[in-house]
């Protein structure tokens, strides 16, 4: 059975061109970039080229890119690095209640060390109000961290506006752009961004490599101490092949981003419309327009997410849910709850995220399959009363 992969927001396959670009760096050109001799020089040159590709993707200078072991590490480095480099006075951090766990976990860690963190609320679309950001700033505020687009519901935040507020207040501004880099245009200067996290595996690069953009002049401590790699900002032998792959992926993304967003946006809208038409008592989660071109997130009342996923998987369709049952914890998505969804609707959420290889047929297949699955699950749901029957 042909699998239909609709979880590009979780991870993307590594693009064949990216794999090709990486291969020589496992074999012939395997050098340690810190070495003086030929192999080392080849490695350094390759890393430099990748660095400038990643820099170009977000409008940064080459020197402002620090390669990391992924998006999570980049988020950790941004927040902890700024915190550890700060004067004692600056002990206040502003973030939102819908950030990725990498940001929330770092904030919690810093709270345990005595930092104060303000978690801003969002509206029902998952939007942060720039005015809330402004009001939260105090004399002690060190950094504001607001994600560019949310990984679950796809809502894109007014980053440039928040960047202006941060700049006016003289506060560092970090944004987690793991879901947007390579998908939505980013210009760190125009947007007033001081720190920005990226992850290669969300843009058809390899897993286990990411980058933190650190604006020149930003005072930041390393998260990982040791050798002088990455200009003393991130120690450890460079993930040479991974970095080369990231560079190639960034280069590809820069070329295809605009067109891809148009194509995916159309498929996304067909999928949303189809779902809402075919499945009664379903609702779209996230913002209707300020939204990632590849993100569909719906809540389907009376049914639970994991059982939808299992049925979809049996039909070869890969998706994701905000239900507690797949989270390892017993709580459903903090993002959906922050947006005001009931627990029941949060447990019934389904994320379908599209990508480079998604086709119109995939969309059709999901629509048909899901409709059947929902009927089947609703038939066995004690919460669901079929239309026409009186409520309990």
């Amino acid at each position: 059975m042909n699998r239909v992969y609709l979880d590009y927001a979780a991870t993307t396959p590594t693009h064949p061109d990216v794999v090709q670009a990486m291969l020589p760096f496992f074999g012939e050109s395997f050098g340690n970039a810190s070495s003086l001799y030929s192999y080392g020089r080849e490695a350094r040159a390759a890393i430099t080229a990748a660095r400038s590709s990643v820099a170009r993707l977000i409008g940064a200078d080459e020197d402002e890119i620090v390669f990391t072991g992924g998006g999570t590490e980049a988020d950790n480095m941004a927040l902890k690095g700024i915190a550890f480099a700060a004067d004692g006075k600056y002990n206040h951090i502003i973030t939102t209640s819908i950030e990725h766990h990498a940001v929330l976990g770092s904030c919690e860690f810093l709270e345990n060390l005595g930092f104060h963190v303000t978690y801003l609320p969002v509206d029902k679309y998952g939007l942060v109000a720039p005015d809330d950001v402004r009001k939260a700033i105090t004399d002690n505020t060190l950094v504001i961290s607001v994600m560019h687009a949310n990984n679950e519901v796809g809502t894109i935040q007014p980053i440039a506006e928040i960047g202006r507020i941060a700049r006016d207040a003289g506060v560092y501004f970090h944004t987690d752009a793991v879901q947007t880099a390579g998908h939505v245009p980013i210009a760190v200067n125009d947007m007033g961004i001081d720190l920005l996290s990226v992850s290669a595996h969300k843009l058809y690069g390899p897993k286990g490599v990411g980058a933190l953009f650190v604006r020149t002049g930003t005072r930041i401590s390393p998260l990982i101490h040791g050798g002088a790699q990455e200009r003393n900002r991130r120690a450890g032998t460079e993930n040479l092949a991974g970095i080369v792959g990231f560079g190639t992926a960034a280069e590809l993304a820069r070329g295809t981003m605009t067109e891809e967003a148009t194509v995916l946006g159309t498929l996304r809208d067909r999928l949303i419309t189809g779902l809402l038409e075919r499945i009664p008592e379903a609702q779209l989660n996230g913002h209707p327009t300020s939204r990632l071109p590849n993100n569909v997130n719906v809540s389907i009342d009376y049914v639970e997410g994991e059982s939808m996923l299992l049925h979809l998987d049996m039909e070869g369709i890969c998706a994701s849910t905000g239900s507690a049952c797949t989270s390892g914890s017993l709580e459903p998505s903090h993002v959906l709850l922050s947006m005001g969804l009931s627990h029941q609707l949060a447990h019934g959420s389904l994320r379908l995220s599209l990508g480079k290889w998604t086709t119109g047929e995939d969309v059709e297949r999901v629509l048909e399959t899901l409709q059947e699955i929902v009927s089947k699950l609703r038939a066995m749901s004690p919460l669901y009363k079929a239309p026409g029957r009186s409520a309990q």
Binding site: M314, A324, P382
Partner: protein, 133 residues
Amino acid sequence: MSDEQPVYSEKVMEHFRNPRNVGEMESPDGIGHVGNPVCGDIMELYIRVVDHVITDARFKTFGCGAAIATSSMVTELVKGKTIEEALELSNRAVAEALGGLPPIKMHCSVLAEEALKSAIEDYLQKHPKPDSA
């Protein structure tokens, strides 16, 4: 998300795919209702009791794969049992009959046990044993 995603046994998946005894029951002798939307699992369990023996059981469940599979299994296991025997059915027995459950899913088997107990209680309340006590 976690790297400790539940890995379900074949038996769990089989009961999830083809759950036994799904649906409501016309005028059941006992109804159990447990769980709530906050935790994400809700089970309704119906029993038919004839001469102190559970002759039929059905369920409706809102919940994950394990919740559906344990519901299905508990309805199977309980059929033919006396009330006393049924009250002794533990969540472990349900889980074992399914070839085991991932640790983070054990609470679903607890829910299934509770649903059964709740249905039996409902039955006992509605049908107080005249000769007992």
